[in-house]
C-alpha cells in the first residue's frame, strides 16, 4: 500500500486480513462491503444478524477490540488490525457460556433474532463494567431492539450473569473451592482455583443447565 495513493478502482476488490474469533482470514472483497456483510456472506458466520443497516436495532452488534460496535456501520476495511469477536465465540461446542445460559434460564429470548446482538452488547459491557448496577444494565439494554421479550427478562439475564461472575470471582479470591456459593455445577469445583481471574465464568459456567440448541 503506497502512501495515501489510490490503490484500486471502485470495481476492483481489495485484499483484507481480518482477525475474527482468534482466527486470521484473508479475503478479497469490494471496499463497500460492511463488516456485517463480510462476516455473514464471506466468512459464513451467520450468527451475527442484520436488521436496519443504520445503527438503530443492534442485531449486528459484535466486539471490536473488546468494545461493542455496530457491524453494519463500519466497512470491513476499517476493522483490519483489530480483534473481532462474534456470537460464535461464546459457546464451547454445544456448551453455552454462562451469559447464554442466563438468557435461556430467564427467557431472555423468544424468536432469537435480536439475541446475538444482545449477547455481544452484554459481553462487551460487562467486561468493562463488571460491577454494573441493574439501572446501568437497563440503560445499556436500551441500545438494541427486541420485538418479543419486553426487555425485562434480558435485563434480568444480564444482571444475574453479572452477579454470578462477581460471586465466582469473590470466591476465587477467597481461595475457596466453591464458586457462586452453591455447588450445582459440581464437576467444575476442582478446577475453579486454576482458572485465571477474568476468564472465570467462561470456563466455569455458574448455571445449572447445559443446553444445546
Amino acid at each position: 500500500m503506497t502512501d495515501n495513493a489510490p490503490e484500486h478502482t471502485a470495481q476492483q476488490r481489495q485484499l483484507l486480513s481480518l482477525d475474527v474469533n482468534g482466527e486470521t482470514h484473508e479475503l478479497l472483497t469490494e471496499p463497500r462491503r460492511t463488516l456485517v456483510d463480510v462476516l455473514r456472506h464471506d466468512l459464513r458466520l451467520t450468527g451475527t444478524h442484520v436488521g436496519c443497516e443504520h445503527g438503530i436495532c443492534g442485531a449486528c452488534t459484535v466486539l471490536l477490540d473488546g468494545a461493542p460496535v455496530r457491524a453494519c456501520l463500519m466497512f470491513a476495511a476499517q476493522a483490519e488490525g483489530k480483534e473481532i469477536r462474534t456470537v460464535e465465540s461464546l459457546a464451547d461446542g454445544t456448551r453455552l457460556n454462562d451469559l447464554q445460559q442466563a438468557f435461556s434460564e430467564h427467557h431472555g429470548l423468544q424468536c432469537g433474532f435480536c439475541t446475538p446482538g444482545f449477547l455481544m452488547l452484554a459481553e462487551g459491557f460487562l467486561a468493562e463494567r463488571p460491577e454494573a448496577s441493574k439501572e446501568e444494565i437497563r440503560e445499556v439494554v436500551a441500545s438494541n431492539l427486541c420485538r418479543c421479550t419486553g426487555y425485562q427478562t434480558i435485563v434480568e439475564a444480564i444482571d444475574d450473569c453479572a452477579a454470578r461472575r462477581r460471586a465466582a470471582l469473590r470466591s476465587r479470591l477467597e481461595g475457596t473451592a466453591h464458586h457462586n456459593g452453591d455447588s450445582r455445577d459440581s464437576e467444575d469445583e476442582n478446577t475453579s482455583e486454576t482458572v485465571p481471574p477474568g476468564a472465570a465464568c467462561e470456563e466455569v459456567p455458574c448455571g445449572s443447565t447445559t443446553r444445546s440448541r
Partner: protein
C-alpha cells in the same frame, strides 16, 4: 440497502490525507467513526466515489490540558473515551463534557463515533455542537495550506453545513477554559435518539453566591444550528439570587426568545414547553456541581 461502490484510501498522516482530498475533489469524503456516514451510505443518501479513512491516525485521538487551563480534544477521540476519561484528564472543570456523553446515541455508537466527526457532521441537535457553541470552543482544521482555527460561533452555518472546506480535516477542538458550573440536558422521544430540544448552560456565581457574574445559555433543536440565547443570559445575570425562581423565569424568557420549528418531532409550542423545563433543569444541575 447497500452502499454504492467507492475506492477506499487509508490515510497515513494528516498532510497526505488533505493532499489526497484536494486531488480527488468533490468525489471524496473523510470517514472517521462512520456512525453517521456509513448509515447515510447504506441508504445511498451519500455516495462518495472515494473514502479517505482517517481512523488509523492515532495522533488525532486523546485529551490534553494546556498551561492556560484549556482542554484539547483530538478529533478522533470517541464519545466513549470522553465518557470514561480519568479525572486527571478531565477534571471537575470539564465534567460537563463527560456527563453529556450519556445523551449521545447508545454505547455501541459511542465506542466508534468521534468528537470531530460529530462537529464536522454538524447536526443541529448534536451534543458536541451545542457544547462547542456554549463554551466558545475553537475548532482546528488542517488543509492544504496548513492549519486554521475557527471559533464555534462561526463554524456552524446551517443544517449539516459547516465552515470546513472539502479538503480540510478537523484535527482538534479546544475548550478554552474550565466550566465547573455547566450542564447539558435534553429530551428525546426514545433514549439514544437525537434530541427534540437540548439545553445547556454555563454559570459563573459571584463569590458568596448572591448572584451570577456571567451566564451562558445555548439551545439545540430550535434552529438549523445550536444557538446562544442572550436574552436568557441577561435574565440570569440581572435577575438576582440564584434559585428555582430565577431559573424558571430565565427558562420562560428563553422559550419566548427563540422561534423553534414545527416538524415531525414536535410543534413549535411543544418545543417551547420543553425549553421551559430543560433550561431550568440545566441551571439546577449546573449549580448542583
Amino acid at each position: 440497502m447497500k452502499p454504492a461502490a467507492f475506492t477506499y484510501h487509508r490515510a497515513r498522516d494528516v498532510e497526505g490525507a488533505t493532499r489526497l482530498l484536494a486531488e480527488l475533489g468533490d468525489e471524496a469524503k473523510v470517514i472517521a467513526g462512520g456512525q453517521s456516514l456509513v448509515a447515510m451510505m447504506n441508504f445511498r443518501l451519500a455516495r462518495p466515489g472515494h473514502l479517505v479513512d482517517i481512523g488509523g491516525l492515532a495522533g488525532l485521538a486523546g485529551l490534553r490540558t494546556d498551561s492556560g487551563g484549556g482542554l484539547h480534544i483530538g478529533a478522533l477521540t470517541t464519545h466513549h473515551a470522553v465518557e470514561t476519561a480519568p479525572a486527571d484528564a478531565l477534571g471537575p472543570g470539564f465534567a460537563v463534557l463527560r456527563d453529556a456523553m450519556r445523551w449521545v446515541g447508545h454505547l455501541p455508537i459511542r465506542t466508534r463515533g468521534t468528537v470531530g466527526g460529530s462537529l464536522a457532521h454538524g447536526d443541529a441537535t448534536a451534543e458536541w455542537c451545542l457544547l462547542a457553541v456554549l463554551l466558545d470552543a475553537e475548532l482546528v482544521a488542517h488543509g492544504p495550506d496548513g492549519e486554521r482555527r475557527i471559533a464555534a460561533a462561526e463554524f456552524f452555518h446551517g443544517y449539516y453545513t459547516t465552515a470546513l472546506e472539502p479538503d480540510e480535516i478537523l484535527v482538534e477542538v479546544v475548550f478554552p477554559r474550565p466550566a465547573p458550573h455547566a450542564a447539558l440536558t435534553e429530551f428525546a422521544e426514545r433514549q439514544g435518539d437525537f434530541a427534540t430540544v437540548s439545553a445547556a448552560v454555563d454559570l459563573e456565581p459571584a463569590d458568596g453566591g448572591g448572584h451570577f457574574t456571567a451566564a451562558r445559555v445555548a439551545l439545540g433543536g430550535v434552529d438549523a444550528m445550536p444557538v446562544r440565547v442572550p436574552e436568557a443570559e441577561d435574565a440570569l445575570v440581572s435577575g438576582g439570587a440564584p434559585g428555582p425562581e430565577l431559573y424558571a423565569r430565565t427558562a420562560a424568557v428563553a422559550a419566548e426568545s427563540v422561534d423553534p420549528p414545527s416538524d415531525g418531532n414536535g410543534s413549535a409550542h411543544y418545543r417551547r414547553v420543553l425549553i421551559r423545563t430543560l433550561v431550568a433543569r440545566a441551571c439546577e444541575e449546573a449549580m448542583a456541581r
